[in-house]
Symmetry: C2
Subunit: 113 residues, 2 copies
DNA sequence: CCTTAACATTGACGGTTGTCGATATAAGAG
DNA sequence: CTCTTATATCGACAACCGTCAATGTTAAGG
């Protein structure tokens, strides 16, 4: 599944309940929401935000999540592809950070007020 | 999958990135998001909001969605179970309405500001 | 009653998803 | 160069999901 970065999704249109959403935009927004709609990925976002310097490597997440390293890397890739996280490699470690405004963008599409 | 109504999910905790989310809350929030993470269901929400009196019956949705009647009923049930829509039957028709504040509740959990 | 209309439910099918073990890649240490 | 460590990728498998055709349910009209 090819994912549109969140900023592209949110740039397109107004809130879901304020104007009728097009078929294409519905597909894109659904993809962005699907990337969030998993317990492990929500916890990853929360843990990255809570970690010092607001970034974390795979090794910081594996044990508290109770998941294998390949599984954590898999979830991180989905979040990066969707535009919620960035990845920067330093040495053998890969550090993940929140993309500022990404969550707010999708939240703004859901709000009715 | 048994679903917690959105209001119960949003009553539990603060924004995802402001405080670490618990495993249980992550499961519940993921379920609420999963109910939204489908193009047909996003369009249903948008179409119900846009319809006159902000309510619509199954027959209003089937043709514009391009889906069969059982499929539309299936999606509506998921949205009702998740707490986004209410169902009221009048005669042979079933009318669906948005639950006020439901979308805002889940949006508030995603926002970072 | 009987028919018709609107909707819900069931059962089935192909496609997707989350998880893991095994393996590949990349970079620092010695 | 070799070994170790951190991470990514691959292949497989069970579970889940969206869709439809067929059938069940409920209510209005004759």
């Amino acid at each position: 599944m090819e994912l549109l970065p969140v900023r592209d999704v949110t740039a397109c249109c107004g809130p879901l309940t304020r104007e009728a959403i097009s078929d294409e935009n519905a597909v894109n927004l659904a993809s962005s929401l699907k990337a969030l709609a998993d317990p492990a990925r929500l916890r990853i976002i929360s843990m990255v935000a809570a970690h010092e310097d607001a970034e974390a490597c795979v090794c910081d997440l594996t044990e508290p999540l109770g998941l294998g390293q390949p599984t954590v890397s898999h979830h991180l890739k989905i979040l990066v592809d969707a535009g919620y996280l960035t990845r920067s490699k330093r040495g053998t470690w890969a550090y993940y950070k929140l993309v500022p405004g990404a969550l707010d963008g999708v939240a703004r599409l859901l709000v009715t007020v």
